[in-house]
């Protein structure tokens, strides 16, 4: 019984791996590029902040505000702040 169960588990894992590859293969590049773009923006923000360089991304970030607002709201609530701590980010 145990043997059959582990066999089943093995085959399920193999199907899962093959399925994931089949699912990802056609769009691997597009998804990876989107992820890289997100990482690039994050890098720009973090490095600018660390080095004290005036952030060139802030102007562009305005465009992202509608997307970021929900995450920002979750963040400040997790941090124990009921209301948004920033005057220019009024999410609630």
């Amino acid at each position: 019984m145990k043997e059959t169960f582990s066999q089943l588990k093995y085959w399920y894992r193999r199907v899962s791996v093959a399925g994931a590859e089949y699912y990802n293969a056609p769009y691997r590049a597009a998804v990876a590029r989107a992820k890289r773009d997100e990482d690039d923006l994050f890098m720009l923000l973090v490095f600018g902040e660390m080095m004290g360089i005036p952030n060139p991304a802030s102007w562009y970030t305005l465009e992202l505000q509608p997307l970021l607002l929900e995450r920002f709201h979750d963040w400040h609530q997790r941090m124990g702040m009921e209301r948004s701590p920033l005057d220019n980010m009024r999410c609630c």
Partner: protein, 559 residues
Amino acid sequence: MSAILLLILGLSGMALGYFVYSRFIAKVIYKVDENFRTPAHEFEDGVDFVPTNKFVLWGHHFTSVAGAAPIVGPAIAVIWGWLPAFLWVTIGTIFFAGIHDFGAIWASVRNKAKSIGTLTGEVVGTRARSIFSIVIFLVLLMVNAVFGVVIAKLLINNPGSVVPVWGAIAVALVIGQLIYRAKLSLPLVSLIGVVALYVLIYMGPSVPVSLPEQVGGLSDNAAWILILFGYAAVASLLPVWVLLQPRDYINGLQLFVGLIALYAAVLIGNPTIVAPMINQDLPAGTPSMIPLLFVTIACGAISGFHGLVSSGTTSKQLRREPDARFVGYFGATGEGALALAAIIAATAGFASLADWQAVYTSFGQGGVLAFVNGGATILSQGTGLNAEVAGTMLTVMAALFAGTTMDTGLRLQRYIFQEWGEIYNFKWMAKPVPATLLSVGTCLLLAFGAGGADGSGGLLIWPLFGTSNQLLAGLTLLVVTVMLVRRGAPTVFTVVPLIFLLVMTLYALLIQLKGFYTKGDWFLLTLDLVVLVAAILVTLECIASLRRLKRESESADAS
């Protein structure tokens, strides 16, 4: 004539082609090398270049190339009788499509996985490359305009399929979220997706949806076309993981299920083919079989579109060079099998010859609707499935395929506009939204410009799609042939299909040109002329580059 016999003959022929002919091609012509380091290893980056399991790559390649065309083409072409369509699909798959798709992958793999467009520029010349970009734009334009019409007709003729066709989008959106956000295991999500899709198919006939005959002064057909293009524009702008990726995946699974069900139903039910072997009683206005048969059935016999997929993404993921035979040749065989299913459905799924003739009343009639109606009869007789549900299942299968091809086609067309924007420094055109609007606009112009207020211009130009697509295939075969000449390998196996394709394409274009001129259809006449000029230029390029090569090899021998 028993459909089982046709099925066995066709599939055995294709199997022989794969096991015997493709092995010979791999060994003697392309000389694939087990030790050749493929670009997937050489440039491995985890993004574009990833060595992939050959079965997975086959699945990806097959579902990318199998759109609605292997269903539409054969189902129209059986108007000349089942035998010509059957022979062209079987022989075309074995001697034309297999070697073309396999060759496109091989040529690309041997050239750092470059696309066939780039290779045309490098191997043949820059002029050939310019022709290539014009032809590819025309092909995409036609695919998008045609498939809009095909889906609209399917939705109108089978109102029960509206809920599952649009519901499939909702299913895809949900499974996309389940995979990426909820991180659920893929086999489980696949099961949920497929079950949800089939529940929708089962439910569909009990909640039929039809648009009113007039929507804001437009016919229901035109309204559906506008809705479909609106959807395709949004879909092509969304991040791929949100809709396109899960939608392609679920469609792929449905294709396998549908194809297996259809073949099983033929084997169980053994329907009789009622259509004539060679139709002597052709409806008035049907064009001559030669050359139109060879451009009406493109996908399923040989299709230039496959060269784009083969050299675009497949070649970057090939793990071993010998895998090109399985992925390319067997991929083409898979599509031949789909075209064979379409032929059987459109000839054996009718009760009598009179019923069949009632559908095939003029050229271009029948088509995908004959596949759906005939296939549904076969499915319900073979498996005992309710006829209406079987019809909905096949309608959804055809509509989803046309839909995903339209999504991808529109995205590719948008890339071309963006590229032109960058090359010619039109900043506005290089942005996604204006480029998408331009793509949708040109497709609608074609649909309504050639088809009038009904919007079915896409279907009128279907034979032109065949010719442009065959031209693309010709260009790919030319690239492969030039490479073979340089390597001193035998070229007869690629030159014969190349010459045959060019002759048939030129002949078909001339016949159509005369037809459009007689009818006074100036729009199609202009399009035909563009393709004709491209075809002549391709032919001249073929002759020039092969002569140049011959001279080079002669002078090398002399020195």
